[in-house]
């Protein structure tokens, strides 16, 4: 899917007034089937950028098109249809605690299914082989029928990524896919994502905290700082000086792994007060 952002600004609806916008006059052009990594210090606007691309956050200003179509000009139903062709994997994997892994992974298929088909799949999982294959690529094949809340944080994160492989999407937007993974798993997960995206011609935009991972796996790197593009270069041209500038005053994030976002175990809803009369 082709992406075009021209002078796009965006602010979070929950941001307090007077806070600087998360994205400021940002330009970005991504060709169909391209893979790129977005790096930058915390608070640079990486997640906001993904949210704009996922049609989750409407830009306040600027021009934003996917495949030449402006999503926010579409009627709501068509917009929802377009969202079905995107896949946004949030940093904390969205998995309900009591669900089984197979159901959680097959949930990626939902945009392609009608309501009846999705209900049937709850009764008996529709495409167990596909779910198994997707999990196997992340070394989780043996967890197919486990419950999500019995798994570790890293396993849950990889299940969130395996869901992408089943989504009928032409654009993957992956937010910090490696934050809960150990180095070996991270290598494997990254290689799988980039490999499958290339195989299927899917456009891939991933935000990453691990600069070395970004340099090792992606052909194009976008450095983001203060809501704007600091550099946008083929990986070979990214120099240590550029990186140093990008992470100025955030050197610890460049050298060490970023402080991990706590991945709270999924919990059930808080009890509601029950009243009879």
């Amino acid at each position: 899917m082709k992406i075009e952002l021209q002078a796009v600004s965006a602010r979070h609806p929950a941001a307090r007034d007077g806070a600087p916008a998360a994205l400021r006059a940002l330009d970005l052009r991504v060709a169909d089937g391209e893979s790129l990594a977005v790096i930058g210090p915390s608070g640079a606007g990486k997640t906001s950028l993904l949210q704009v691309l996922a049609c989750a956050l409407p830009p306040a200003q600027g021009r934003f098109t996917l495949d030449g179509v402006a999503p926010w000009a579409l009627p709501r139903r068509a917009l929802q249809g377009l969202r079905g062709r995107l896949f946004l994997a949030p940093q904390v994997p969205p998995l309900p605690p009591r669900q089984r892994v197979v159901t959680a992974v097959l949930a990626g298929r939902l945009p392609a299914w009608g309501l009846l088909a999705s209900l049937r799949s709850l009764f008996y999982p529709s495409d167990i082989p596909a779910a198994h294959d997707a999990l196997a690529r992340f070394d989780l094949a043996d967890k197919l029928f486990e419950r999500v809340d019995r798994l570790s944080g890293g396993e849950r994160q990889r299940i969130g990524l395996a869901r992408a492989l089943l989504a009928p999407a032409r654009l993957w937007l992956i937010d910090e896919p490696l934050s809960a993974l150990d180095p070996t798993r991270a290598q494997q997960a990254m290689a799988t994502l980039v490999g499958v995206a290339r195989e299927r011609g899917i456009t891939l935009v991933a935000t990453l905290h691990q600069v070395d991972m970004a340099l090792a796996h992606f052909p194009r790197i976008v450095g983001l700082r203060d809501g704007a593009v600091a550099f946008d270069l083929p990986t070979a041209q990214v120099t240590p000086e550029l990186l140093k500038q990008l992470y100025a005053q955030h050197e610890d994030e460049l050298h060490g792994p970023a402080p991990e976002l706590a991945d709270p175990a999924p919990t059930a809803a808080l009890p509601v007060v029950m009243h009879c009369r």
């Binding site: 609806p13 996922a54 049609c55 989750a56 956050l57 409407p58 709501r76 929802q80 249809g81 377009l82 969202r83 079905g84 062709r85 995107l86 896949f87 946004l88 949030p90 904390v92 969205p94 998995l95 309900p96 605690p97 009591r98 669900q99 159901t103 949930a107 990626g108 939902l110 945009p111 299914w113 309501l115 999705s118 209900l119 709850l122 989504a167 999407a169 999924p266 919990t267 059930a268 809803a269 808080l270 009890p271 509601v272 029950m274 009879c276 009369r277």
Partner: protein
Amino acid sequence: MNASARPTPQAAALRDPAWAGRVFWIGATLVLLWPLGVATEFRPWLLLQPDSLRVSGHFMASFMPPAMAPDFLRLVARETWRTVAIATAGITLALCIAWPLTLMSTRVLSISALSGRMARGPFWLRQGLRWVLIVLRSVPELVWALVFVRVVGLGATAGVLAIALTYGGMLGKVYGEILESGEAHVTEALLRNGGGRLQAFFYALLPQNAAELTSYTVYRWECAIRSSVVLGFVGAGGLGQQMDNSMKMFNGGEVATMLLVFMALVALADHTSAWLRRALG
């Protein structure tokens, strides 16, 4: 210089600063409650006067021994079954009313609210459905039962319909609250990736809140059993109607037996709920 003379400033720093506020609010609560007690003629000591003690003593004494005649027990068994049937049928109908209203009125499943504010049309639709739920549950089931007894005649049908309407309103409201109080992240993610509202409900919202919803529903079933007794007093069938008869004939033993049956039913509901929670948790 000894230890006791030294620490005046320190002692002040170590005093709990929230103390004064706590005393104030306790005092304020008592002052506010006093007029309420007067308005409701709350005089518990009247219970302990010899006259009242004698009357209540007689009444309680008539409960012993509980009636155990085989004929009566057979009647109680049949009416118990009817009571359970009224409560279950009432709750089932209430579910049929509550779920569509909940699904249409809950904010978590709003697609337009994914990106900022909810659109105007959906907002007023949800608001309108909330008002429907308020109307349904603000009319007590006793009133509904009196209405239906006139329409469909004495018997269980009136009880079932009364429970269905009031409980439909209550279930719809509380289901909505349960769904909205849980973590919305999972549901949002599915909607953002192009899933439909019902798909998001079945793949995210329901598995996330299943235990809470089930235990609330079982608890409501227990309430429906209790409430069917009250409805029985106005002629809506079941154990309540029998209890009304026994009360009118001052047959304390029969009342006691039926109360024991109620306790057993409530205990049963309690165990069912605990078991279901364990199974779903």
